[in-house]
Symmetry: C2
Amino acid sequence: MEYIFSDRVQTLKPSAIREIFKYAADPTVVSLSAGNPAPEAFPAKEIAEISARLFETDPIAALQYSVTEGYSPLRSFLTDYMKEKHSVGSELDDILITSGAQQIMDLASKALLNEGDVVICENPSFIGSLNTFRSYNARLVGVPIESDGICIDELENALKREKRAKFIYTIPNFQNPSGVTMSLEKRRALYELAKKYGVLVIEDNPYGDLRFSGEFLPCIKSFDTEGLVIYAGSFSKVISPGMRVGYTIAPKEIIQKMVVCKQGQDVHTNIWSQLVCFEFLSKYDFDAHLSKLREIYRKKAAYTMQLMDENLTPNITYQKIDGGLFLWCDLPERVDMQKFCLDAVKNKVCVVPGTAFMANPEDKTNSFRINYSTPTDEQLKKGIEILGKMAKEL
Amino acid sequence: MEYIFSDRVQTLKPSAIREIFKYAADPTVVSLSAGNPAPEAFPAKEIAEISARLFETDPIAALQYSVTEGYSPLRSFLTDYMKEKHSVGSELDDILITSGAQQIMDLASKALLNEGDVVICENPSFIGSLNTFRSYNARLVGVPIESDGICIDELENALKREKRAKFIYTIPNFQNPSGVTMSLEKRRALYELAKKYGVLVIEDNPYGDLRFSGEFLPCIKSFDTEGLVIYAGSFSKVISPGMRVGYTIAPKEIIQKMVVCKQGQDVHTNIWSQLVCFEFLSKYDFDAHLSKLREIYRKKAAYTMQLMDENLTPNITYQKIDGGLFLWCDLPERVDMQKFCLDAVKNKVCVVPGTAFMANPEDKTNSFRINYSTPTDEQLKKGIEILGKMAKEL
């Protein structure tokens, strides 16, 4: 049988990162290529406790079918929490619990994108989201990212030029892969441009709570007086990614369409995990938990940056980070980045070549991504020392 | 802001069943409109036990990111189990763990359907799947279902006529909503027609294990020498629907595309629940558990059919069932079915009008669906007695 696939998936390929993970699976290779939270960051004891209690009191609630919109007390809790804590959400908005924030990208794309519509994104950006947009045959237009966030002039040029632009996709805090945080001025400017050109914004914020230094900045969604912003929140980095629980706060009409799409996609998000998230958020000290996480990542990032300063400079440079899970390393122009990454794997350390994160294959980059949260300190030392040796030979 | 949605969701509406659920939420209304497993059918004690053990031994495995294809030991177990028990799966096939069987419909549609492609389905059929196909702008062509399954002549007519037919969607066991099981002859005939016309088959089998009388019949997938059948399995009816774990056994190339689509949709299925399913299937007596379920449903269905025989005949007729969760009731032609269902709600019993399950709005039916698994025996008695009173007045 010769299978004929839909046009939208004809050219779709597995994520380039996944291919790299194959090398990373070799136990002798130090993987700096993942994006997993540090294992010590999981509130495993509390989750076990909550789950045991759920099964003692009302197991059927955790096991039976539930509603597509999500567990109602969790929705209420998050609505209040995000409003009070982050000024996110207004009477224009509604909330939907999703199977991780990845599903928000899919549902928003399905509800909004016709084939050939344009998504404007930071360049580089998170490959998982870019691949979802591609899977609906959207055209990606990348706007360069600077040390304080997306280049606003280039963003306006793109909005002027691209009449079919449907939304801007941005990760304002500790962007994956660049580690960059968008300045307050640029957040406001981006929102004003969205308003001026009548396009929507997807604000993806998985790392916002993982700020271990510098000052907290308001979400773009907190300026959203017009109903332009789809805010994507996730518990993957602050509770557990394996449970696949995320949430979106977005204009009511958009949420309605996303609910209908979700109904046909997975009916509802695992209700057991929704109950666990609700209990953890509402009955435990979530702020204390976040402080603990920030401390874990502050230490680990400081150690990593110290190792990088000692080993990689001057040939490999990088921008210091104030949070999140990733560091973006720049190679000198004369160096072939792809070859460097391949040589690194041969030398038993795995990093992700920057090309994986570019909006289009022709977009150039000479950078690669390092993750510091997944490896142990020992692995970090070993991996960065190997890269350091390679850096000296450049 | 005026939102412009994609063409594919412009006309998409929330499931008609959901609208009916609003009435059913009134605690004074007896709901015969759901499709939930009986609460006493959940292995709650075993799940609690397994989960506690997981958190004692390796909590990180349940909480960390995992791979898109699904938990490898679960995939291996199911591959062997389905091969040995049901002759499902060959060297042409691979297996993918999904977030419920509903996601199989979405991933297969995304991978296979261009806008305007045709899906041939039984008429009536499961509204959740039909809505997923609709969400990719597929055209649905319904083929009448008879007491022994889909009408094979009409199926061939449809295949001859519809050059853009991409797949046949069928629920061969205890079909939702009709309760009908396809005969062995028709299973073979359907497969031969798929082969002859070069179309694929999605065999959706959520209720196959819930046979409480009559003889077990082989899956269509067990005849699949050519790689035509996408088999959809689910733990929603035999372990827990709230956990959202399903699996598909399908030709390798199709699985590959579905994996890429799933990566962009939810990265992977809740790994905690995958681990629980694996432990329950592999370390407990799953066959004994299924026997227990069959006994629960045998009793409950017998009680329901007895009530129906006592109360509904002769004005409302139905076909006896050998398994599954649904009964399909036919009204005399002279009766306005929609009005009958609305009157039923006013009389405090909620059933689902058959139109909800038709492939196209113009397809006629004078039937409605009853679910017997969710209500208590007391509720069944009360609800069917109300319907009986209405039947007498017809």
